[in-house]
Each structure stands twice: as structure tokens, then as C-alpha cells.
Amino acid sequence: MTVQALEIKRSSAAMWGTKTGLREKPVVSKYIDTTTCIGCKACEAACQEWNDLKTVATHQEGSYQTLPHLDADFWNLIRFNEREVDGGLMWLMRKDQCMHCAEPGCLEACPAPGAIVQYANGIVDVDPSKCIGCGYCSTGCPFDVPKFHKTTGKMAKCTLCVDRVEVGLEPACIKACPTGCLQFGSKEQMVAMGNARVSQLKGAGFQDAMLYDPQGVGGTSVVTVLGHGHPEWYDLPRDPHVPLLVRAWKSILRPLGVLAAFAAVIGVFGHYATYGPKEPPEGDGVGEGRTK
């Protein structure tokens, strides 16, 4: 989905870096409090409904989790993890979806101009009309979010309901949440709310509670309150980064390769100008018979 009215801040495969926008606008963010999530999956249903996504057959893997991972037709997944903590069982639920990174690895890896854009409000979106379905974005994503859609041949993921946000509505998942564990607002407000909730949790005995807003990808437009300071317990990477090899490929190898190619062409002309062609000596071979 792309929305014309929204200003684009970055675009994939742009010539001069990825920045395209000039103005700074307030960045929006989701707020997820895993400690008050009850695992009702209303957000899953709301996401499917608002985005008109097809029904995906569920997998029973001995847990309440709908699917093992996100799908091109399933952009919002509550992950259920069970863990023994201090002799008690913790049932850890976390809403998994696109994190809308401030420095999106998908956008950096994407080779199709404009196929992945980041709006000035921080939302990272795929434009199917420009996507070529190569899957580079999924290589660049540290959260394994973009999925290939077999019917369209394009990548699909959470849009942060950009079509709702654009007209001043909150995303469908937020709207549906019955406990208030999902909130939506400016990034600043959501971070402040998250920090307040973390200190509240610490006061209540959750000493290692934390706000997950990973700086390795410049922060995300989904901030998550974790009751336990172990992101991996919630299937989250502890310190996500755009993969080093993707960075090296785009910012070192590619410019070097382009330079080398042009250098070879220029070198060839320079060689011709310097040494000229290698030709047989004058008269060589002339007058020799046509016989063998």
C-alpha cells in the first residue's frame, strides 16, 4: 500500500543514499505492553479484517500460537512462549509484526526504486506496484518480517495501517485491543509511557523489566514493554542490526564495483591511445600462395 498524501522520507534504491524527504515530521509509534496482554488475539482478527487478508490455515504446534511465524497473509501474530522463572511458569505473549525501524534494513537492501518507502511519520511500507519480489528485503530485515506472497509475487507485511493513520485513525490492532496494552501516538509519547510503565513494573518486583526500542536499527516505531529483560524469551533479537554483509554490499562493494567497471572501460580507451592496435607487420603474408 502507498498513500499519496503522506510525505516520503526515505525510498529504496534512491541514487543519493535513501533520504528523499526534507521536512522532519512527528514520528508515530505503536506501544505494546506484554505484561497486560491477555492473548485474546483480537488484534490478529482486526488486522485480518481491516486489511482484507485471506484466511490462513492455522498450525497446531502444542501452543495457543496461531502460526509458527508471520505470513504474507498474516501480518500480526501473538507469540506465546512458556518459560519457568524462579520456580513459577511465565506465559509470555508478545505481538509480533513489522517493527517499522527508523533505519530499515529492508529498505536498504531493496533494489527496486520506490518499492519500499519510509514516510516522514516513520511508517515503513511496501509498494506492490514497484516491488519485484526478489526477497532482498527479507535478507535485510533483522526481525524476519517481510514475506513473499505466492499469489501476487510481491512482498507483504504490516503497513501500520497507513491508510487509517493518514486520516487520523489509530491502527486496527490498537483499536481492537480490549485491555489497553496496545496504544498509539507519537513516538515521544509512547516512549514516555513505556518508561513510566517499566518503572512501575520494577516497583512491583519485575527488577529487569525493560522497554524494547532497539537502537541498533535507530529505534523502532513499535516500542514494547517487556516484563523480563530478556528479549530472546519473547523471540526478539537482543541487539538487532541491519546485517553487516548487507551494509558492506550496498555501501562498499557496490560503489567499488561500479568504479572498477568504469575504470576498465576508461583503461581500455587509454590503452588504445597509448599502445594502439597490435597488427601484423606491413606486407607480412602478402603474396603467399593460396595453397596448403
Binding site: 534504491a13 526504486p113 526478489c134 535478507t139 576498465a264 597490435k278 603474408g285
Partner: protein, 236 residues
């Protein structure tokens, strides 16, 4: 069968037949590449060109204009792997076709050294009397193309089916595919240059298949002697 003298505008049928045999003198010219060789070579070249035109716009937007030549970015993504497979198959035929001529002679073993290549490019490398049909540089390019084709194939498969391979493998594959391409592109630029402007008389070996005696004597004296039975220094 018509004879050349009866119909001067026609090429003698015997000459046409003879031109399909490698390493023979026909009508004053030497057959260097018979038809099969030329077809294989141009199949490799054409499939490489399609791969190049569909791959380079995906590589960098700097070459995005190439996508228009194949029908757009999405078409490029779809046809690139198939062009690649065709290129690898053609290269495999080429490998077996040329393998026999591509063993390095004892005085060619140092061709991998930049100093030897530079000496050749300064036109200071004395062509070997013992050398065969191809010089060390051509053999090196042959092996580089074969290695490149394998490299493109092995690294291309995880890029073709990204969903079936782990992310780290895909990252490594992309890097190696790029490295292979950059080396290959530089090689092809030099190859085209040497085959056309730099060494006049070479290109026709891949079009009509024949070269002149003087060309053969200059570039491949050992081969020239074997084919014609003449000494290199016969000329006065």
C-alpha cells in the same frame, strides 16, 4: 557442384565445407573457429548479455535504464535467473568443447601474474613458438569464465529462491555473486577490446571463422607453423 570459376559470385561449395574444419588453410585463409565453436561462443555471449541487462538494474539504480531494454524491473527479476541457467548450460558446452586446447604450456604457467599480463598488453610479450592455438591469456580467460559460471550458479540459486535458504547464506551469496560479476565484467570488457579494436583481424575468427596468415603468424606462430607447415621467419 558448381565451381568458383564458373560462377565467380558464389563461394565454392568445397570452400564452405572446408571452412567447417578447424585448423586448415582454405582459400588463403586459416580456419580458426568452425561453425560449432562460433555458435557455442555466441550463445554464451548472448545469454551473458541478457543476464547482464537484467542483472545490472537490480545491482544498482545507476544502470536502471537497462531494465527498460528487457521490459522493466519486474521482468528483469523474472528472466535473470533463466538467462543465468542458459548461460551456465552454454558455458558447460563451451567448457567441454574447448577443454582440449586449454592446458597451459610450460612457458605459459606464469600468465596469472599481473606482470606477465602487463607485458602482453604493452605488446612486448614475444609469442611462443611452442605455444598452441591459444596463448596463456586466452587460456586464463577460459578458466576464469568457467569458474565464473560455476560461481554465478552456486551463488545465484539462493538468490533465486530466497525463501528456502537461511538469511546468512543469502547474504554471503549476494556478496559472492557481486564479486564474481565485477571480476567477470572487467574480464569481458578486456576480452571484447582485445577481440576487436586492440587486435585487428581477430573478430572475424568468431564471425566468418577464418583469420589471415599474417594474423596467425603474428599472434600464434606455433599454431601457424603446425597448420601451414611454414616457418615463422619465412618472410623476408
Amino acid at each position: 557442384m558448381s565451381s568458383a570459376s564458373a560462377q565467380p559470385n558464389r563461394v565454392d561449395r568445397a570452400i564452405v565445407v572446408a571452412r567447417d574444419r578447424d585448423n586448415v588453410v582454405v582459400a588463403g585463409e586459416i580456419v580458426r573457429h568452425r561453425r560449432a565453436t562460433r555458435i557455442i561462443h555466441w550463445t554464451v555471449a548472448l545469454t551473458f548479455l541478457i543476464g547482464l541487462l537484467s542483472g545490472m538494474p537490480i545491482w544498482t539504480p545507476l544502470f536502471g535504464w537497462m531494465a527498460y531494454l528487457v521490459g522493466g524491473m519486474e521482468v528483469a527479476r523474472v528472466i535473470h535467473p533463466y538467462a543465468g541457467v542458459a548461460f551456465v548450460i552454454a558455458s558447460a558446452f563451451q567448457f567441454f568443447h574447448w577443454l582440449g586446447d586449454m592446458h597451459f604450456a610450460s612457458d605459459e604457467k606464469d600468465w596469472w601474474r599481473p606482470s606477465r599480463m602487463a607485458r602482453y598488453m604493452r605488446w612486448e610479450d614475444e609469442a611462443s613458438e611452442e605455444g598452441g592455438k591459444y596463448n596463456g591469456g586466452q587460456k586464463l580467460f577460459f578458466w576464469a569464465v568457467c569458474l565464473g559460471a560455476v560461481g554465478f550458479l552456486v551463488t545465484g540459486i539462493p538468490m533465486w529462491f530466497p525463501l528456502r535458504f537461511p538469511a546468512l547464506l543469502r547474504e554471503i551469496a549476494i556478496i559472492l555473486h557481486d564479486v564474481t560479476f565485477i571480476c567477470f565484467l572487467i574480464g569481458v570488457i578486456l576480452h571484447i577490446y582485445l577481440g576487436t579494436a586492440a587486435e585487428p583481424g581477430t573478430f572475424r575468427a568468431m564471425t566468418r571463422g577464418t583469420v589471415t596468415r599474417s594474423w596467425a603468424r603474428l599472434h600464434h606462430p606455433g599454431w601457424f607453423r603446425k597448420v601451414t607447415g611454414e616457418s615463422r621467419d619465412k618472410r623476408t
